[in-house]
């Protein structure tokens, strides 16, 4: 006990220097409140990405290069029976109205409008593009029978409605080799269900047109995104009529939705938690002096926030949201001091404040230190956001401890006098049926432990983004209308220059086709191979035809003549065979309507060039790349699901480390405090109950464990142990400072702090709220009823053994 006399001495020291103490405290608090408005808020989810491994940040940056990450998808859906022309014109008008600086480019279709150009381009460039496999297939079709069949088909097609259109192709491509080229184009189709009509992107039923817009607004720039989307809506008001439904989907929608939601949540959460705490204080304390405890809570919050903003450049919105939790947390300490010194205490009790401070400082300090230790573990997290939260909580708890143990006694002393209410104080009762309480507790604990074994971990960051019903509806509608063009995995083939990047991309494409088949691979390798590959293809092409041309000419002439074709009908085909087309360069394709795809698939940076390949985001393809990654230097696989998997593993690892570390620390601290294994175990009852109950209920309702639940777990551990210490001290020692009421009130204020988070619409804040509500909600009754029940049983047993009645609530 003597060590804690420091607080007796501190009290006595400041008794003569109260004005100076109040002045310094007031200065710190006022300065903190003033600085609050200068804090830079950040809603960037990046703060919740591990920064201890370079892989995470590289992958996160690469994920931003997905073709539609920085694009705004605008869908116009005609709900009437209007014709396509009207819809297309509307799309053009809207596109023309979307001008800089907010919109840098808008496309409603490919840059050219004649498919013929693509066909002719393919026929001309087949020598550059045809692979060995293509030549094998072509060879199989060069028999007289096949050629006769093809020519007959060509001839017949002249009488079809499309005859006039097909005539030119028959001249240049009587063997229909363009199908080999067309197959290659399928690898460029990023939007599965798109088709072209009058140079517009339309869907299968012709009721939807697609506009793709670009902007210079940063993805995390919430203000810029809001301005840009508002401008788009304003433009649409004058152009898009009632019967046409406009849907806009982009990363910017999520940025705005999240920023707006967090701002609203912060207001709602902080208001509700503050108000409910005030109501609880009024109900329990019924004196204006309760404001002193509140002052400590709010001041701790302000001091912690300002301190964190001085340490970090920006303060995460999640950290501020956590402020409501800190409000509920920091008053635990001050409440215990308040109840020890509370107004209206019976005068017959020893009311030497310095002596009470020496006594009460023990559990308060230990509770505070244990909470600090639990939070300090967050400082070892791989997630910068969690480290910031750790710093915020540590500073907040330190401030609360300092003010509760040093400032509050003097404030209460100064404000003493007058007629004070006793407030609502729990009667000192001992459990009538301790065995029943313990039995129910064991049953509940067993059931929750059984349920909790199914708990799952989730690393999906998207699930922690706020997605409104409207936004979710748009996502679904656009996915159903146009196909899933936003959910691909990405493979980057890197090179120091374009040629080396294209060569790496060629190797990857060949490998994927061999091992995963053609399906779903989006790659420019089929249309823009490296120059080296093109030269090799052209050499193989020339060699292939050199010994076949004469024979094919003879067959075409003979079979053609039999059908009625003129002798010179296929001269253009043979001219093309002999031509040596220049190698295809990405810039050549600018005139062929594929520019936009190339622009999104070739990524230029200062040091290197990366070529993007999109593949289905499946475990099989990921395994393929991982298996042979050494064969493909410069190739990197990135996908949302893989990224989530990495985060999930990091969370799991963090979680195990936190739990182990926290329990280890707490056990040491409890052992130092109590030096009694039974007391240590009893102190752990609330934390174990809270944790097991939280796991059980989360598992029961299929709620996965995410990044924010880890933070919640740390809180449950920190607070649960506090309750355990207070109740064990109260039940086992001569310690009568209305601990039951203090535990109940501090628990309720914590629950209201967390409970307020349940009203948050943002999944991250909501997630913290709901899980900790479960944990603390279970920890409080276990502290208030189960610990005393154990003591009752123990006391009864001791009484029976000694044959005497030991005083209740005291340990011999």
């Amino acid at each position: 006990m003597s060590w804690f006399n420091i607080f007796r001495h501190l009290y006595n020291y400041f008794s003569g220097r109260r004005p100076a103490l109040f002045l310094v405290a007031a200065a710190i608090i006022i300065l903190s409140v003033v600085f609050l408005k200068y804090i830079r808020l950040s809603e960037d989810i990046k703060s919740m990405l591990p920064d201890n491994q370079k892989e995470f940040s590289i992958d996160f940056e690469l994920l931003q290069h997905a073709p539609f990450t920085r694009k705004i998808i605008i869908n116009l859906k005609d709900n009437s029976n209007g014709d396509f022309t009207e819809l297309a014109e509307m799309a053009d008008r809207l596109a023309n109205a979307m001008t800089p600086p907010l919109f840098t480019r808008v496309i409603t279709g490919p840059t050219i409008n004649q498919d013929m150009d693509i066909y002719n381009w393919l026929i001309r460039n087949l020598p550059n593009l045809a692979t060995d496999n293509d030549l094998e297939e072509i060879k199989a079709g060069l028999t007289t029978e096949h050629i006769r069949d093809q020519l007959t088909d060509d001839y017949d097609s002249l009488f079809s409605p499309e005859g006039w259109f097909l005539k030119d192709f028959i001249k240049t491509d009587p063997l229909n080799l363009k199908t080999f080229g067309l197959k290659k184009l399928t690898h460029l189709n990023i939007i599965p269900n798109v088709r072209l009509q009058d140079n517009h992107f339309i869907n299968a039923d012709g009721k939807n047109v697609l506009l793709i817009a670009e902007t210079d607004v940063g993805i995390t720039d919430a203000d810029g995104a809001e301005k840009m989307l508002s401008q788009l809506n304003a433009l649409a008001e004058g152009i898009v009529p009632q019967h046409v439904e406009m849907s806009v989907l982009s990363s910017y929608n999520y940025t705005v939705a999240n920023a707006e939601t967090i701002k609203k949540d912060l207001f709602v959460v902080l208001s509700i938690s503050s108000l409910s705490i005030i109501i609880l204080f009024i109900f329990f304390l019924r004196t204006w002096k309760a404001l002193l405890v509140l002052l400590i809570s709010f001041s701790s919050f302000a001091i912690a926030l300002v301190s964190v903003s001085l340490i970090y450049k920006t303060v995460s919105a999640i950290t501020i949201g956590f402020g409501s939790v800190l409000l509920g947390l920091s008053d635990d300490l001050s409440l215990h001091v308040y109840f020890a010194l509370r107004p209206g205490k019976p005068k017959d009790r020893k009311h030497d404040i310095s002596a009470i401070m020496a006594e009460v400082s023990r559990p308060v300090l230990f509770g505070g230190v244990i909470t600090l230790c639990a939070f300090s573990l967050l400082m070892f997290s791989a997630l910068p956001g969690q480290r910031q939260l750790g710093a915020f909580s540590i500073i907040g708890v330190l401030a609360s401890l300092a003010m509760s143990l040093i400032l509050l006694p003097h404030m209460m002393q100064v404000s003493s006098g007058g007629k004070d209410s006793h407030g609502f104080i729990l009667k000192k009762q001992h459990p009538a049926h301790p065995s029943i309480i313990i039995g129910i507790w064991i049953l509940l604990l067993t059931y929750c432990a059984w349920q909790g074994r199914h708990i799952t971990f989730s690393g999906n960051l998207n699930a922690l983004n706020f997605v409104s019903t409207e936004l979710h509806g748009m996502e679904t509608m656009i996915k159903e209308t146009w196909g899933d063009f936003r959910g691909h995995a990405m493979i980057f083939s890197e090179g120091e220059d374009l040629e080396s990047a294209l060569a790496a991309n060629d190797a990857l494409f060949r490998y994927l086709k061999q091992n995963a088949g053609d399906g779903g691979i989006i790659s420019i390798a089929s249309i823009v191979p490296s120059i080296k590959t093109q030269q090799a293809n052209q050499n193989a092409w020339n060699e292939f035809w050199s010994d076949k041309e004469a024979n094919i000419r003879r067959i075409l002439e003979e079979e053609g003549k039999a059908l009625g074709f003129s002798v010179t009908a296929f001269d253009p085909f043979f001219s093309n065979l002999k031509a040596s087309p220049s190698p295809i360069l990405p810039e050549d394709l600018n005139v062929s309507g594929i520019k936009d795809i190339l622009d999104s698939m070739i990524i230029y940076s200062d040091e290197k060039i990366s070529i993007l390949t999109l593949v289905p985001d499946t475990a099989e393809i990921r395994a393929l790349i991982v298996r042979d990654k050494d064969s493909f230097p410069g190739v990197r696989f990135v996908s949302q699901s893989y990224f989530s998997e990495m985060i999930r593993k990091a969370i799991g690892h963090d979680f195990i480390r936190f739990i182990t570390g926290a329990f280890f620390l707490i056990l040491i601290l409890l052992a130092v405090l109590f030096r009694d294994i039974k007391k240590v175990l009893l102190s752990l009852i609330p934390v174990v109950t809270g944790m097991v109950f939280m796991f059980g209920v989360m598992s029961l309702f299929n709620m996965p464990f995410n990044i924010f639940n880890i933070i919640s777990t740390i809180l449950i551990i920190g607070l649960g142990v506090d309750y355990g210490i207070f109740m064990v001290c109260k039940s086992s020692e001569d310690y009568e400072h209305d601990t039951d009421t203090a535990v109940l009130l501090s628990g309720l204020t914590t629950i209201t702090g967390f409970g307020a988070l349940i009203f948050a619409r943002h999944p991250a804040l909501h997630s913290i709220g709901i899980t900790v509500l479960l944990g603390i909600g279970a920890a409080i009754p276990s502290a208030m009823f189960v610990i005393p029940a154990f003591y009752k049983i123990k006391n009864n047993a001791n009484g029976e053994k000694s044959g005497t009645n030991m005083p209740q609530g005291k340990e011999g």
Binding site: D156, F159, K167, A204
Partner: protein, 212 residues
């Protein structure tokens, strides 16, 4: 090539006189309006059209001009059956915005959405527009000149740049009764052309529902 130019020149020679528009533009405009009005009036009573057709293909890549034969059925406002039976078998049916097409004697019929078949959409659109004599729609896409009044011969020059690339002009010769088109000539930019003659056309003959 010289032969081709000769063929084209000889073929186009008779039309050159028609290409000269009447000196008096007001007179021409009123005559054109009168012709359009006559055709509109005649077309207004047409509910069905049925008959046979021959299609001559005058193409550079073909040694001779092959003639295909087929059957044609139209029912107001938007049903069309176009069926070639010689030298090959193929055809299509349009009924509203849906359709079917086939190729070969035993070729299975493939259903299609008219919006997804741009070529058939253009052809059927032309047929429907002429059957209704919808000159507003036709003049939106073509510059129409009256070459002859009796029988009525019209020349249509496409206005769309895209269409101009492939299509030089279309010539339509109306029946003496002016209620249907008896000959269509589609002249391409390179000189090739296709002539379709409608034979034994019956106007408003009842047609079985199942042919569409």
């Amino acid at each position: 090539m010289n032969r081709l130019i000769l063929i084209i020149s000889v073929f186009l020679l008779p039309f050159s006189a028609f290409n000269e528009e009447p000196q008096d533009e007001t007179d021409y405009a009123s005559k054109k309006a009168e012709v359009f009005s006559r055709i509109e009036q005649a077309a207004s009573s047409v509910q069905t059209l049925s008959g046979e057709f021959t299609q001559e293909k005058h193409l550079e890549i073909l040694e001779n001009a092959p003639i295909s034969k087929g059957k044609f059925f139209y029912k107001s406002p938007d049903c069309l059956r176009w069926e070639v039976y010689e030298p090959t078998s193929m055809g299509f049916i349009v009924n509203g915005d849906k359709g079917k097409r086939w190729r070969g004697q035993s070729g299975s019929r493939q259903s299609f959405d008219l919006k997804k078949e741009p070529v058939i959409q253009i052809i059927s659109g032309q047929v429907f527009a002429w059957a209704r004599a919808d000159f507003d729609q036709l003049e939106a896409g073509y510059d129409i000149t009256v070459l002859e009044e009796n029988p009525v011969i019209l020349k249509l020059i496409p206005l769309s740049v895209t269409e101009k690339k492939y299509l030089d002009y279309i010539k339509l010769i109306f029946s003496t009764t002016e209620d249907y088109v008896s000959t269509i000539e589609i002249h391409e930019s390179g000189g090739d052309f296709t002539r379709i003659n409608f034979i034994d056309m019956a106007v408003n003959r009842p047609l079985k529902e199942d042919i569409f």
